[in-house]
């Protein structure tokens, strides 16, 4: 790379990152976008360009809604690094990255972290068996490689689950069953917020359409509990309990799990930014102002990484953060900012309803079975964590030393909230008081060879 300094560096090329880059480049700011995927779009608009030429209709309108933004981003003139891992942001706003196996440092006046969301874990017995995937993973295969598995069982809750099932049946795949784990108490807590959700009538209508079309072709079983997946070295079947307390066995080769998405906070936390526990949404989220400005004046956080709001809201928050940065260069965009803020509030109107409806109950957040693995990387079971707690581990970081949970390659992305909640249960403290793993750079594993290739000074 010839340039080492930029006015704006955007990390992540999903809807938030793409929209932010369109805004900063339009204002003439020297911008770089860094993304770890091969193509822009993030997860939600993954592989959009390639799919657009083949235009399979099964992915639906909500997917192709990203077309204009992707095209605008491709034409916006921002420097764009693909296939590139950011592993650290330093106090002096150096961004350490690995591109083509080589480590580099760049600097920026302002940084927008737009690293999106990841799926919340659904730790049921047998969830580590090959053949079990997250629903997001199954959807990625459909978008990226046009691959699907017939007779799969979808288990869990949330909009992404139903969207993916809908895409599956539209692609001509047979779906064995949908086992919906949404409990009655979730419906009760969500109902008061239903009127607010009607501010997003098109979203509600879309959900209704998916459900109607799915029910015509697939068994949708609601109020499912006690899900256990069986198999020796791959999935062979699963069992569950119905609302009438009947135990059902179902043969299956593929099981796709989903319990909603949570902000991907590994980079923002490892950067030392302030975070807060959102008890209603049940996840950690960065502390920011309305424009996404974090506890570090130079760093903004846009998109689902700053609280899950979906693709449209993510794009708006990208524009909001970007226009706030543009304003700091003496080009205030007051009307635009007001417009973005109102649009953002509008998109968020459905969230109180969705967040309450689809927040998994505790029996789906923590394994019910002692042998179930919590930390997949280090194969640490619930019993192992209980034992560590029994020997006096009092917090997530001490528990790492006791059990190795969270010390694997995914750096706690999968097990973090489960471990934290088990500690909270054991000690009777709140989730906020327990805190999260202390995350440190590098936020993604990098090789020593890549590190050794770093020329000049080390990150300060």
């Amino acid at each position: 790379m010839t340039d080492q300094h930029f006015q704006v560096a955007i990390i992540g090329a999903g809807p938030a990152g793409m929209a932010a880059a369109c805004t900063t480049t339009k204002a003439g700011l020297h911008t770089i976008v860094i993304d770890d995927q091969k193509d822009s779009g993030g997860q939600v608009y993954r592989n959009l360009k390639a799919n657009h030429s083949l235009s399979p209709t099964y992915l639906g309108d909500s997917y192709y809604a990203g077309t204009k933004l992707s095209n605008d981003f491709a034409a916006c003139g921002a420097n764009y690094l693909t296939d590139c891992t950011v592993w650290q942001i330093t106090n002096s706003h150096e961004i350490a990255l690995v591109s083509c196996g080589k480590a580099e440092l760049i600097t920026a006046d302002y940084i927008i972290i737009a690293t999106g969301a990841i799926e919340r874990a659904m730790p049921v017995k047998g969830w580590t068996l090959p053949g079990v995937m997250s629903v997001g993973g199954a959807q990625t295969l459909l978008k990226q490689a046009a691959l699907g598995a017939d007779e799969a069982v979808f288990v869990g809750s949330g909009p992404l689950l139903y969207l993916t099932v809908w895409q599956y049946i539209n692609a001509g795949l047979s779906v064995r069953a949908v086992l919906d784990t949404t409990g009655r108490s979730q419906w009760l807590s969500a109902l008061p917020f239903a009127p607010l959700a009607f501010l997003q009538p098109d979203m509600l209508a879309m959900g209704q359409k998916w459900l109607r079309e799915i029910r015509q072709k697939v068994d949708v079983i609601t109020n499912v509990e006690g899900v256990e997946i069986a198999g020796r070295s791959r999935v062979e079947g699963l069992s569950y309990t119905t609302s009438s307390r009947e135990r059902i066995d179902l043969p299956a080769k593929y099981v796709f799990l989903h319990q909603g998405v949570i902000p991907n906070i590994n980079l923002s936390m490892a950067t030392g930014l302030e975070h807060r526990w959102d008890q209603k949404a049940h996840y950690w989220t960065p502390v920011t102002d309305a424009t996404g400005k974090s506890s570090d004046e130079q760093i903004y956080i846009a998109g689902d990484g700053n609280g899950v709001g979906g693709a449209k809201a993510a794009a708006i928050t990208g524009r909001l953060s970007a226009s706030a940065i543009v304003a700091r260069y003496g080009k205030p965009r007051l009307m635009a900012q007001l417009y973005y803020k109102l649009r953002h509030l509008h998109f968020l109107s459905i969230r109180p309803f969705l967040d309450r409806l689809y927040l998994p109950e505790v029996r789906f957040r923590i394994p019910q079975n002692d042998e179930t693995i919590i930390c997949r990387c280090e194969a640490v079971t619930k019993a192992d964590i209980s034992a560590a707690l029994g020997s006096g581990a009092t917090g997530p970081n001490q528990l790492k030393a006791f059990s190795r949970a969270g010390m694997g390659r995914c750096q706690g992305r999968t097990c973090g909230l489960m471990v934290q909640e088990m500690i909270a249960d054991h000690t009777g403290q709140s989730m906020a008081a327990i805190g999260y793993y202390r995350l440190r750079p590098p936020v993604k594993p990098i090789t020593l060879a890549a590190l050794a290739s770093l020329e000049g000074t080390w990150p300060q």
Binding site: Q144, A145, L147, G148, S233, A379, R413
Partner: protein, 108 residues
């Protein structure tokens, strides 16, 4: 560790055109389409067990977006490669990543 093959496998839902590429997985030659990632190419060939975490604990792709590190394989002799992030290439040699045997029976 034996890796039995399932009957149902991931299948293409539309015709994708592209240059065919040949790669080796364990002792098998498999054809894929240029532009697929390694995980997709293996799943399409019915391979879902990518590695072992420890004895009798087999793992396969889970998140497909680079977060979970479950799909690690050995590519051209380099261990710890994320199959969902690596692109398949002609002549690639891919092997399952075996966890060190915790009972002390290390190979090689």
């Amino acid at each position: 560790m034996d890796f039995p093959r399932g009957d149902l496998m991931f299948r293409p839902v539309m015709t994708k055109t592209g240059k065919p590429v040949e790669f080796q997985f364990e002792d098998e030659i498999i054809t894929a389409i240029d532009g697929d990632n390694v995980a997709a190419a293996l799943l399409k060939a019915g391979k879902i067990q990518f590695r072992t975490a420890k004895k009798h604990d087999t793992r396969g792709p889970y998140c497909m977006m680079g977060v979970c590190f479950e799909c690690l394989v050995e590519i051209d002799g380099r261990p710890n490669q994320q199959a969902c992030q690596a692109m398949i290439r002609d002549g690639m040699q891919i092997r399952r990543q075996q966890a060190p045997d915790l009972d002390g029976d290390f190979e090689g």
